[in-house]
């Protein structure tokens, strides 16, 4: 492909989100008018075409020499307002193209799966419309060439998650889960927005080019407005607030577990392809800013790795399969955030893990969905068990996903998680090794909770009632899982130590910040072995404890736990209750006070002024009674008064 041809193709990258956007518009407008299979066909087709176009764009980008693989194109002037000018444009570079491939690729597989999962739902067509909008929003987010376009995608993603989590809104739990997601995201988005304002106030622009140019300038290279250290730290921490909301990190992670209320493909889409990886993308994209402030990178790293460990401990206590997966996503996202927080080789490792996680988490979610499809929505592990015999495909594919997330060789989870742990360990930052230790402990917990879930669900005694008739899911649901399983098996090849294709591919984006490529050294082998051992240990422990769980044992699980601390742990450390007492109720009280102030003080004052003017007007209106002679008298009186005044003042001015 010639350079010109490649650039012509790259110029059309904006078509990818547009396809999904148009399809979303058509599907949501037509709604019920489009009968069942066709709405799905359009929805799936749109994402499929978007994926194909993305692949073409990817090929075009690959055909360019490595140092020219950053392609920016301005589409139109969006907000021209004096000195404040925002252009809407897109940026195709290795980082954004990988995200586009993930979003459209995994998104497409999940869409296909939805054909089977959502079949027969009364809002079938709308569902696909909203799913398409979700994909389109995420594409806008990763394609934008400035922070404001990114922010539009960021907000759209939040809105879509609200719509889809509350898709079955007739049940109050579902719509309140949607609200919860929305609120937690609003808190984060507020931080993000303030961060953007601070960037604009400091640099005077929101274009990636200008802002990062300024960051480079502050590091001592190139021209631009230097950013002070304190400002850079503040910006990074405000961006981090946004990241904790969108990527479900401590302390704003609470919404993700409840997001399970949505249909399972939605969960898969949120967890694997869209939305939650946005935070990782943001930090990767804004890496020059984070490079300025070591403090903020340390905070990001520890928020990430702390979340990884914390969420893993919660996942271990859950009984519902999808809840385990939700906390596992929070935990895995923690790894990614920690990786991009520490920087260096961590950037490539984080991106590596994002895609790796996209494969195996989508696989696990689709597996859980397949399970619920078979068991009529039952997902409590205490009432499952022994399902391997009735649904061998689902069980086998779930096992692949489980092995991958647990970091067992040769699945991609092993390579990507160990890339992160390696980046933490080998980082020049002094705190890297502490983070590595926490990450290793979290890796053990990951293997443990994942295989606890697997064994309790698929092996041992069957603990479901006779009324359930589990069956293998239709092929339209199994084949997508198969594709994802192949993906998670092979994706590790993309960034093996020694070759590190991904690391090299991302170099145009991260440049000097990307760190050295990893080689096969004794230390690397040791680190990989440590990671693998921890995973194997976790699986083995899970096998010993849960693989032969009988029906009676399953039921007694809940009772064996000591009431106080145990329940506290099972209920995810009762954060919801803490939020209820610490945030919602004080907030409610405050709202009450404010409402009283508003009604009694502000409203009354305003209404009083208005009413006074009205009454005064009514009195004055009486003067205008239509009698010419009264008018004339008043007029005459006025003239006499003025004349008297002039005479008394001695005719001054006349």
């Amino acid at each position: 492909m010639s350079k010109e041809a490649a650039e012509n193709i790259l110029e059309l990258a904006w078509i990818v989100p547009l396809i999904c956007l148009v399809s979303a518009g058509v599907l949501t407008t037509l709604g019920r008018k489009l009968k069942e299979p066709w709405g799905g066909v359009v929805g799936v087709g749109a994402v499929g075409v978007a994926f194909l176009v993305t692949v073409v764009v990817f090929a075009a980008l690959l055909s360019l020499p490595a140092d020219q693989r950053v392609f920016e194109h301005v589409l139109f002037e969006w907000i021209p307002a004096g000195g404040f000018r925002i252009e809407a444009g897109f940026l195709v570079d290795p980082l954004s193209i990988l995200w586009m491939l993930l979003v459209t690729g995994v998104g497409f597989v999940i869409h296909v799966y939805s054909l089977g999962y959502i079949a027969g739902d009364e809002r079938y067509t709308t569902f696909f419309g909203q799913m398409n909008l979700f994909v389109a929003s995420m594409l806008i987010l990763v394609l934008g060439n400035n922070f404001l376009v990114l922010f539009v995608g960021w907000e759209l993603v939040g809105a879509c998650s609200y719509l889809l989590i509350g898709f079955w809104f007739k049940k109050i739990e579902n719509s309140s889960a949607g609200n919860k997601a929305f609120f937690a995201n609003r808190v984060g988005d507020f931080g993000f927005l303030v961060g953007l304002m601070l960037i604009f106030a400091t640099v005077g622009s929101l274009d990636f080019d200008t802002v990062f140019g300024a960051a480079y300038a502050s590091l001592g290279g190139g021209a631009g407005v230097p950013i002070a250290l304190g400002t850079a730290t503040a910006i990074c921490l405000l961006l981090l607030v946004g990241v904790t909301g969108k990527s479900a990190q401590v302390p704003l992670y609470v919404w993700l577990a409840d997001a399970m209320a949505g249909p399972t493909p939605v969960s898969a889409l949120i967890h694997a392809a869209t939305m939650v990886t946005a935070g990782v993308y943001l930090i990767s994209r804004a890496h020059p800013l984070f490079a300025l402030s070591e403090v903020s990178r340390a905070i990001v790293t520890f928020v990430g790795i702390g979340t990884a460990f914390y969420a893993a401990t919660i996942a271990l206590g859950q009984y519902r399969v999808k809840r385990v997966l939700a906390y596992s996503t929070i935990s895995q996202l923690g790894y990614m955030i920690a990786a991009v927080g520490i920087g260096g080789a961590g950037y490539a490792a984080g991106v590596f893990h994002v895609i790796s996680h996209g494969f195996f988490k989508a696989l696990l979610f689709l597996g859980a969905g397949s399970l619920m499809h078979a068991m009529h929505g039952e997902e409590d592990m205490r009432r499952l068990g022994g399902l391997r015999k009735v649904m061998p495909w689902t069980a086998g594919l779930f096992l692949v996903g489980g092995l991958s997330i647990s970091g067992i060789i040769p699945f991609s989870g092993f390579w990507s998680k160990d890339a992160i742990l390696g980046a933490l360990y080998e980082s020049p930052e002094s705190w890297g090794k502490i983070a590595w230790g926490i990450g290793l402990a979290a890796a053990f917990l990951t293997a443990l909770y994942m295989f606890r879930t697997y064994f309790l669900t698929f092996t041992g005694d069957r603990s479901w009632g006779d009324e359930a008739h589990p069956h293998e899911s239709p092929w339209v649901m199994v084949i997508p899982m198969l594709v994802l399983a192949v993906g998670t098996t092979l994706w590790g090849l993309a960034d093996l130590p020694g070759s590190q294709w991904l690391h090299g591919f991302l170099e145009p984006t991260f440049g000097v910040f990307g760190g050295e490529a990893e080689r096969w050294t004794g230390e690397v082998v040791l680190l990989l072995t440590a990671g693998l051992l921890v995973g194997v240990l976790g699986v083995a422990t899970a096998y010993a404890v849960w693989s032969r769980a009988t029906r009676e044992r399953r039921i007694s699980f809940g009772e064996r736990i000591p009431a106080g601390a145990g329940m506290f742990w099972r209920k995810a450390y009762d954060v919801d209750a803490a939020l209820e007492y610490g945030v919602r109720r004080p907030g409610w009280e405050l709202t009450g006070v404010l409402a009283t102030v508003d009604e009694d003080a502000i409203d009354r004052t305003v209404m009083g002024i208005g009413g006074g003017a009205k009454r005064a007007g009514r009195q004055l209106a009486r003067l205008q009674n239509g009698s010419v002679r009264v008018y004339a008298s008043v007029f005459l009186g006025g003239v006499v008064l003025i004349a008297a005044y002039v005479i008394v003042r001695g005719g001054a001015g006349l």
């Binding site: 009674n625 239509g626 009698s627 010419v628 002679r629 004339a632 005459l636």
Partner: protein
Amino acid sequence: MEFLQTPPDPDAYIVLAVFLFSIGAVGFLVRRNAIVMFMCIELMLNAVNLSLVSFGRALSDLSGQILVFFVLVVAAAEVMVGLAILVAIFRRRARASADDMSSLKG
């Protein structure tokens, strides 16, 4: 312009103007017939004209007299419009009492 050299005493004219104006003003206020009210307005206008002319003479200033022309022209136009309105009202009501003409009030 001989008369300008010996300005006469304007007192008598001004007194006359004051009387004329007072008659006009009082008449305007106490009478109800719109035509009479018009005549009263004319009285007031002419009283003012008279005082303008007198002062112009007394102060040897022609602008007082020029102003009178304007007043005459405007008064003529005003009377024409006013009488046209009166005729229109007469046709509808057959009365010319100003007190009845209050239907356009706010």
